[in-house]
Point group: C2
Chain length 630, copies 2
């Protein structure tokens, strides 16, 4: 235990008091916000930021060698803003804009606030984000910065935390420090473990972390713990701090029923009495880190793909090949996979570019959190697993949109076409899931060439992209020189007499082409469009086809809601034509891909039957209309 000068301790305690004062005022002014959750961690965070351990260049929050601080307990945002006000980075006045429309001091932090490393607020995600940043420091940027994550005790019940705890130990990330603010009280009562900090420590230690237990309001203990954490060289460190919710305002301390409640005006006045004499001019200083920056590799152009038309290749294999091919064009591209790289074919990249591949094991939530952390540090993560298993991380995917993240998701084994493994392994809701994110791009190539081109487009695109790949092989139908842009489509078959238009993506493009052949023999010409860019959809081409042919049939290997069919409907909504949506209309089971496409109504035969029915009805309607006029 180090000896600390009394004046130093007193300075930090006064800072903590000021920080509590700011938290009180921000939330009371807003009549909204989590005051007691902020108060419990004030001493811990004051000790961290201003106690001499943390390294941060305050006028360059994005400096690559800054230590990183993540509030996994994002609802303690008043504390976050108060800390940086105490550092002199934001105005006291601005604190009073907390939670107001337009303010960058939002209810839960997002990177609109420059000192928020990532958007948090959905609990249990911060440790994984921090793991990503620590992994970046250790394995990619090769910089000495540390990553600190403030954790709530309630959120330790989230499994995602334990995914991160396992993986950080496995990767021996000694530059990752978690701090659990054990204040005993959750949203509606005591947590499972209450104030039993030894229980928390035992659990974390069992996973291979170094653990320290402290009194979270004892500044000397706090400083010692941070110093010890920073000296750790072989394991990640978890500080488990016993704290009091509401600490610093007497009538709130350890009292249940105050979670998420701001004080009313009378209570505010009452609380302010306890801050009389607070020194509002006080500021804390933070030492800047060494001005080290990562080496920036120069992008080199990639080779072009070489596929033979007609050859059968699985688009998942083309994915692995593409990622490898463009690796040097995108030096910041990294690949993360959830223990299925020999299925997603990320293993091709892993074998060729091992320094940029990270096995995430069967823990999809953490995988996405890690990807977010890497993305915030300038990397371009391609996150792969089965399309069906990306649903495991929907909350993390959802949250990533609020962090200006640049994540690429790759879901393999799309649709009933995967066959015998059955529905637990089938991606049947994934198009809907990714379309639902406001700012997403959704791509579903049908052959190896378009896959390769769209992987490049995805890497070059700024923002979230979802790329859906197939388990089964499909014939190469595009020339290696063909270009594919996000928002585009390909008209594969057309005549001036097309009776309607088939719009498909992925496996169903090939079903549509087979149907086209059959229909041609039946004397029914139809247009065929490969809508490989599901979002944004090529509305112009759809409009042309709608105007020219008068009706559309969409076909997707996906359940009926939220996918390709509804995208097409939405694109034509202002001047619609009749649209028939073929999708998986029955719960699938085991079987071959062909049997299942037939069973669920998305096969070439189903398309032919549907077109026949529509054309007959239309013809009958035309005859009836003609008869009526006579």
């Amino acid at each position: 235990m180090q000896r600390h000068s009394p004046s130093r301790i007193a300075h930090l305690q006064s800072l903590a008091r000021l920080i509590r004062y700011h938290s009180l005022n921000a939330t009371s002014r807003a009549h909204s916000g989590h005051l007691t959750s902020s108060l419990s961690a004030a001493d811990l965070m004051t000790g961290l930021l201003f106690g001499g351990t943390f390294r941060f260049k305050v006028d360059e929050p994005d400096h690559p060698n800054n230590d990183r601080l993540i509030f996994s307990k994002g609802h303690a945002s008043p504390l976050l803003y108060a800390l940086w006000a105490a550092a002199g980075c934001i105005d006291e006045q601005e604190l009073l804009s907390y939670r107001q429309f337009g303010s960058r001091l939002e209810g839960h932090p997002t990177p609109r606030f420059p000192y928020a490393e990532a958007a948090t607020g959905s609990l249990g995600q911060g440790l994984g984000i921090g793991l990503g940043m620590a992994l970046n420091a250790s394995r990619l940027d090769h910089l000495p910065y540390r990553t600190y994550v403030l954790l709530g005790d309630s959120e330790m019940s989230e499994g995602s935390q334990w995914e991160a705890i396992q993986l950080a130990a496995y990767y021996q990330l000694a530059n990752l420090v978690g701090i659990i603010d054990v204040n005993r009280l959750g949203q509606r009562g005591q947590t499972m473990l209450g104030h039993d900090i030894e229980a928390y420590a035992r659990r974390v230690a069992a996973f291979g972390w170094k653990t320290l237990t402290i009194d979270g309001h004892d500044m000397p203990q706090i400083l010692d713990a941070f110093r010890e954490s920073a000296a750790e060289r072989s394991q990640p460190v978890m500080m488990v701090a016993r704290t009091v919710k509401g600490k610093g305002i007497s009538f709130l301390e350890d009292a249940d029923g105050w979670h998420g409640k701001a004080l009313d005006d009378d209570q505010w006045k009452q609380a302010l009495v306890e801050f009389s004499g607070v020194d509002r001019e006080l500021r804390g200083t933070i030492t800047a880190p060494e001005d080290l920056r990562p080496e920036r590799a120069t992008p080199q152009s990639a080779a072009v793909p070489h596929y033979e038309i007609g050859k059968s290749v699985a688009t998942r294999t083309a994915y692995g090949a593409a990622l490898t091919r463009i690796a040097r064009q995108f030096p910041h591209l990294v690949s993360l996979d959830g223990e299925v790289s020999n299925s997603t074919m990320a293993e091709i990249f892993a074998a060729q570019v091992p320094a940029r591949f990270f096995e995430m094991f069967i823990a999809e939530q953490n995988m996405v959190e890690v990807a977010l952390g890497l993305s915030r540090r300038g990397k371009i993560p391609f996150v792969s697993t089965f399309a069906a298993f990306l649903t495991r991380a929907f909350d993390q995917i959802r949250m990533s949109q609020y962090s200006q993240a640049n994540l690429k998701f790759v879901g393999s084994h799309a649709g009933v076409s995967i066959g015998e493994d059955g529905p637990s392994q089938m991606g049947l809701e994934d198009l809907a899931m990714f379309r639902s994110i406001l700012t997403s791009t959704v791509l579903h190539p049908c052959d190896a060439v378009s896959t390769e081109k769209l992987v490049e487009a995805a890497a070059a695109h700024d923002g979230m992209v979802y790329l859906r790949t197939l388990r089964q092989s499909t014939p190469v139908i595009y020339d290696n020189e063909e270009s594919f842009r996000i928002g585009g489509s390909k008209v594969l078959r057309q005549t001036s007499k097309d009776r309607l238009t088939l719009v498909a993506a992925g496996a169903t493009v090939h079903e549509a082409l087979k149907a086209h052949e059959q229909l041609q023999r039946d004397g029914i010409p139809v247009r065929v469009i490969d809508a490989y860019s599901i979002k944004p959809i090529d509305a112009t081409t759809l409009r042309e086809a709608a105007d020219a042919t008068g009706a559309i049939v969409t076909i997707e290997d996906h359940y009926p809601a939220g996918g390709l069919g509804e995208t097409v409907l939405h694109a034509l909504a202002d001047r619609p034509v009749p649209v028939t949506i073929l999708a998986v209309q029955k719960t699938p089971m085991s079987g071959t891909g062909e049997e299942l496409r037939d069973f669920t109504g998305i096969s070439a035969a189903a398309i032919v039957k549907t077109v026949g029915r529509l054309v007959t009805r239309e013809h009958a309607g035309a005859i009836a209309g003609r008869d009526r006029r006579h």
Copy 2:
């Protein structure tokens, strides 16, 4: 350590050999399936089912007092089917239908196979399902059955397992036994911990479970461990078994690269040599349990709700009230909440009917798994948290559809209307998520009365229901006697001269009514429909409105894809009219609900503006058309 008779051990070993033989044949015949994953657990499962501990009435798989066996490692389905063949419950011949189209022996088990307790196959979910069944035995049915869950080692990296581990210890469920099959090899190489069974045991023990470590191929050890587990009275039990992947077929044992691979015909022949002399007539016996059945409470009719028209009530509050009101009408209804019951208002039920409320803490994945387990045992779980946080459990929600589950999900805090907490807490993708499940029902009532009625309808409905509630209060607009059916809607305003139809749900119904007032003053009559049943949507009423008014504007507090607007488009797709979709078109931030609805384009003002534009365009078009004809 008990002494076991040599003949007994020999019998069990022979059974295990037969079971391995069945697994080999089933997968080899199918040319598909996870053989090595099945072989590693064969001795464990043989010892469990036929060793004298397990209690099961084989001709009544759904007997309420049967012990329950769940294969969390669902890909070991060959083993599951082989076990029950050895019990004499299915034909050896049927085993050869494994993975074939139409067979009930699917690639991953579903309850189409009567001895599968639930559909598994997406890893990491079985322990929570088992927890639900154990909770049912202990707290609801009050029966002595035990629940056993076979776990893979790779899937222990899934955080959901640790959610279950925490909660089972907290609830002191001594009737829950997990068995980890530590065979060292994952899908593409060694797991994080390899064969270190002590490491697994230490981790689980730190959470308060009793742990036993054994050699998973030593039958006496296996029998002793199960006997010891069954005697446990105060803690859940985890058996950690060191096993060999591929055990029983020499060229597969502990060999990497065989995960998920079936043998080809030559390899099959080679393997069969190792089973020469296998006794195919051998059968194992299982003792039936005590014929205890739970008390069946008699449903009693519920009181009717009493709300005053015009009064402001939050639909989330009406939810809590409704659940409480109908509790005695549905004696098997239970409530699960993720530590936000004072936000979702499930706390109203918790206070009145505490025996049927279960706090799940902040662990949404496990909450849904537990709900599935309860549902499989005949309960009707209402699972509540913020709509946004239901995305945390999308994989569990997705998987539940394959278990013939009867789950009711209740997501509160819908949309930007929640205000200052900001987007991390806002449900903006939840309608799309729930619509995407093939067999789901999606309801979004706009006032307290309709909420009460739809909670009843949800409870009475057989199948998955999602009910979306609001944080903010809304005026009661319906009479207490009004009836609301799944698939229905309410036409709130209509005339014979309506220029178009507004279709809304939840908060936007009230925006639409405000807009209607303004438009009426502007001399533009519009129809207003409350589409409280988003799925199935009331296509008939929409069709009437489309035919009568010629155009539709939909308004939802939700992102644009996959929600109300696209539902309406889909319902009218065969004979469409122009549809304008108003939805949240910008990334929200903190602010008041009103400010945010304005900012994102779903307020009454936005509706009025849109209608004005459409009506002008239409009018201009009509004039142009008229001018052209002259």
